[in-house]
């Protein structure tokens, strides 16, 4: 009878029976309780997020790593370190280690961004906010390093301006993503770190002028706005709506090719695999050779970088080829 009531079938036979009629009426009423309407979820966004998350291969299932299953909890905790080690061993050791300390403008800087990207992908959800704020802090440090290089004459004003603009753009993304990722449970540590970043940027702003100063002030404003946003969030409790977190796998690099084969091209240690969908602008696959100045746009998938578009840059357009290589942070806009 309960099943029939749930399926809105005819209960009249039970209702006519003197013994079963009270139960039939009760079940009928229970089945007709008006249901509350709920806010429609963004199921497509969640679907994409899930597919993105499950596309990362699980370390503990791959080959020889399976023998380390007893250490899975530790592997999870140190996923970032493990990923970094894998990259370090898969590339030339010296340059990879150096990349982690590199500053924007150096040829090996893209590797640092790729390592960060992978570290973020492998981090548990509750650690992402802390990582993003660490990356924002890295960018603030790099702004200072670039300004020092400019003052010592290692970088021209034009190069400095380009590099600072790209670094500030990354800093803004990371700072915003950190606040978004910590949205449900804002932490004092994030606010404190944002204050640190603001102080570093203030110091950098004082040392700079012109377009560079404008760019640094933009970053400063973002850090201060996010700091205020997180405080507002704490005051408002959990009901404040936060924008969805969208993982961005895009990666960019610019500079002279250091090697080119039928299947891949490299700028320094940043290697991009060629696919049948790779587009070539002002050049073709067979014309790619070491020394060619290019802009490469790519996507990171399964911890590998795939070139989606390679644009040859003519020397006349850029007197001093910008060695700046920039990897967009895999974060929310």
């Amino acid at each position: 009878m309960a099943k029939a009531a749930k399926e809105n079938r005819d209960l009249s036979a039970w209702k006519k029976n003197r013994q079963t009629s009270p139960f039939a009426n009760l079940l009928s009423e229970l089945s007709k309780f008006p249901k509350a309407s709920i806010p429609a979820p963004d199921l497509a966004r969640v679907r994409n997020q899930i597919l993105d998350r499950i596309s990362i291969p699980e370390l503990e299932k791959s080959g020889w790593l399976s023998s380390l299953s007893a250490f899975v909890p530790y592997l999870r905790m140190g996923a970032g370190i493990v990923a970094t080690l894998l990259i370090v061993t898969s590339l030339a050791l010296g340059t990879s280690v150096a990349a982690l300390d590199s500053s924007p403008g150096s040829a090996i800087y893209p590797l640092k961004k790729i390592v960060e990207n992978i570290e973020l992908k492998l981090a548990p959800a509750d650690k992402k906010a802390a990582l993003q704020i660490k990356f924002a802090d890295n960018r603030a440090e790099e702004v200072q390093q670039v300004l020092e290089k400019n003052q010592s004459g290692q970088l021209s004003n034009q190069q400095t301006q380009q590099i600072i603009a790209a670094t500030v753009n990354d800093l803004q993304k990371s700072a915003t993503a950190a606040v978004t990722a910590s949205g449900k449970r804002p932490k004092t540590s994030i606010v404190n770190k944002l204050t640190d970043i603001s102080n570093k940027l203030r110091a950098a702003s004082i040392q700079s002028e012109g377009q560079v100063k404008i760019e640094i002030d933009k970053a400063l404003q973002t850090a201060q706005t996010q700091e205020q946003a997180i405080k507002n969030l704490e005051q408002a409790g959990l009901k404040v709506e936060t924008p969805p977190i969208v993982m961005d796998n895009s990666v960019k690099a610019s500079g002279k090719l250091t090697s080119a084969t039928d299947v891949s091209v490299s700028i320094g240690t940043a290697k991009f695999l060629l696919t049948k969908d790779t587009k070539f602008i002002n050049t073709s696959a067979k014309d790619l050779k070491a020394g060619l100045l290019v802009d490469i746009a790519g996507q990171i998938k399964d911890n590998k970088s795939y070139a989606t578009q390679i644009t040859a840059v003519t020397e006349t357009n850029t007197e001093t080829p910008a060695p700046a290589a920039n990897t967009d942070s895999p974060i929310v806009k």
Binding site: A2, L26, L30, P34, I38, P41, L43, Q49, I50
Partner: protein
Amino acid sequence: MTEAELKEILKQAQSGDSEAFARIYDHFSVKVYRFIYFRVGHKEVAEDILSDTFVKSWRKINQVNSPTALSAWLYQIAKNNIIDYYRLKKETVNLADVQDFLEDEADPIDQTNLGFEQRKILQVLGSLPEDQQQVIKYKFFEDLSNDEISYIMGKTEGTIRVLQHRAIIRLKELLTKKNGD
């Protein structure tokens, strides 16, 4: 989706086909989202828990033996994720008390459109033992099957049927008594 189709898709997902798994998500996401939403009362939080639920289920998909157990199994993972959410939110709360601590719970019933008899049912429902109340709420307010309820409550399906039977008998007695007053 028929049981045969679901069986085939489950088999594909278990062999590592993420597109097949996406079809499982398409099929169950709305129901699982509703279940989560009623327990956390917040759209974005419910979406995050939904995402975690399916990511965890992908990693353990080989544990599912049959397509009929799939939805109940998903509810069980969702329930564990909801408990984790409250445990993280209230770090000082004893883990054993977490299940009784759903402070952001949303009401699955539209209270403004209740009928006269339905209001009386709600009034007496609170007098039932906790597990009987839960079964009635899951079964009639959230449209869950006995199989799903058994996974969520960690009891056998037979126990759920017994609880439901006793709850209805008791509700009927309480309503008769109330109408007689």
